[in-house]
Assembly symmetry: C2
Homo-oligomer: 294 residues x 2
């Protein structure tokens, strides 16, 4: 069998984003962690980590992490049948990648009953909905919420529902930048874009026949995004779920007649991910549709 | 003089987090970008980028980026005196690192008048308040909001005010996990921690004389953090600014008698950062204290 002391050291360095924190998490010295990684690399004859800050797994490192993630989930099942196998008495952790807008809106109420029932704590890893799968491929997470339907080899995907996005701005912003009646004002007025992977504003403009560069703020925070809108700094696409109160009060209004954009969300999970992940999958399949458009 | 075509290619690869996006941003082919980076490395006799995903600057790459950032700010000043120097007519961008809790609360209203007056758009880069300076040291941002006072060489820091954090939970969570009257329940009840750099929960427990491991969810999203609290998933330290409504309605309440934690915030900016950065510094010095504790 593999030497899981070495693999746990690798997983800790990547999950804790550093050798010193990995050492703390495992209760080892930093040099013990370094030695384990070096031994692993000596056995494999190739590096498992790029010594960047934070350390990045190499291609082979990723495959090993992926394996560790799956073994952990299987161990958990065994523990329920054979209690006492694991010395640690901390509750079970599940590591999940999801988009910031889900974490800011429907995710917590949808998973709360599951976490309370099974005593599970969650490690959330944020990724744009377009690229969340890469965390799963990298073996860093047990499951992910993303907009891509096609599952990875060894995994399944299930449709959860769609988040509905509307192009919104404050009435003050519209008066300052979008009051001429010409739809091309939207290319000149500053937009707000979540990050380099966020194409929603581009898609909205394209749906109105507008193409080309547009000026924009970058704001990689869901709540910051709404704060920028409210402070008259730009227009942008926001989940309806997140701004119900602002829409009702008129603090935010639609910028133009374009239709909303529905972003489908899929739940990706390892097929051999064990009972805990299967339970979470069942729970989400029922609860997510209370908040999402199906 | 340096070859700024090569340096711009390096800056674009790091800022856009990839060769393909850098090519799009500069209107070049991806192979043109690769050639420029290779040429730069050939001239320097050492690598400027680790080819990770996303690409990471090496130590020498960081120094070059730092220089590019400062040259850009100086160019902007020159442009106001010698209009037409720059072919692009897109508005000025400032790249700023700050903590998620600032971006979720006071930042947008504090900078809105400055952005409107100078027609500036902002690139926000999120970093925990304890480590934001590393983005400045890396030359990736023009300024940063962080909890460290000591400025980098060539930069200044100014006290903006403090964010006040309170340890909160929902009444349902307190009834379920913290109703025995024993303060040690706090080590057993799940906490919520923003990320590996977030030590607020540890500090709060230490202030109550509690040390050692505690079970926790990880949630790297300010709004997600509050959603987890509201969904009875854990207790955690939250900026008072962010949950005024929840405190007023009783949806969130203090978990124990411990005092609030005030996290000081400093504004770090390059000393030769140009007029625009100086204006923003002046504006923030006046506006931030409307929201922060001084």
């Amino acid at each position: 069998m593999f030497d899981y002391k070495l693999l746990s050291a690798l997983a800790a360095v990547v999950e804790q984003a550093g050798f010193d924190r990995a050492a703390q998490a495992l209760g080892l010295s930093q040099s013990a962690i370094s030695q384990r990684i070096k031994l692993l690399e000596a056995r494999l004859g190739q590096p498992v980590l790029l010594r960047a800050s934070p350390p990045q797994p190499t291609e082979v490192g990723r495959r090993l992490l992926n394996h560790v993630q799956q073994v952990r989930l299987l161990e958990r099942d065994l523990q329920t049948q054979v209690p006492g196998m694991n010395a640690s008495r901390l509750p079970e952790r599940l590591r999940i990648a999801l988009n910031a807008d889900s974490l800011s809106t429907w995710w917590a109420p949808a998973v709360a009953p599951f976490c309370a029932e099974y005593g599970v704590v969650l490690d959330h890893v944020l990724e744009d909905q377009a690229v969340g799968l890469k965390r799963m491929r990298a073996g860093e997470v047990a499951a992910c919420v993303c907009a891509v339907e096609r599952p990875l080899a060894g995994a399944r995907s299930e449709f959860l529902g769609a988040m509905r996005y509307r192009a919104l701005a404050s009435p003050t912003f519209i008066e300052r930048h979008l009051s001429s009646g010409s739809i091309e004002d939207l290319l000149r007025a500053p937009a707000i874009v979540f990050g380099p992977d966020d194409q929603l504003q581009h898609r909205y403009l394209a749906s109105l026949g507008l193409n080309g560069a547009f000026s924009h703020h970058l704001c990689p925070s869901s709540e910051g995004f709404v704060r920028l809108l409210q402070s008259n700094l730009g227009w942008g696409l926001v989940p309806e779920l997140q701004v119900r109160a602002e829409l009702a009060s008129g603090a935010l209004v639609d910028v133009a007649g374009g239709p909303p954009i529905d972003v489908p969300l899929y739940w990706h999970h390892w097929r051999n991910g064990g009972e805990l992940l299967a339970e979470l999958t069942r729970a989400l399949g029922q609860s997510a549709r209370q908040w999402l458009v199906v």
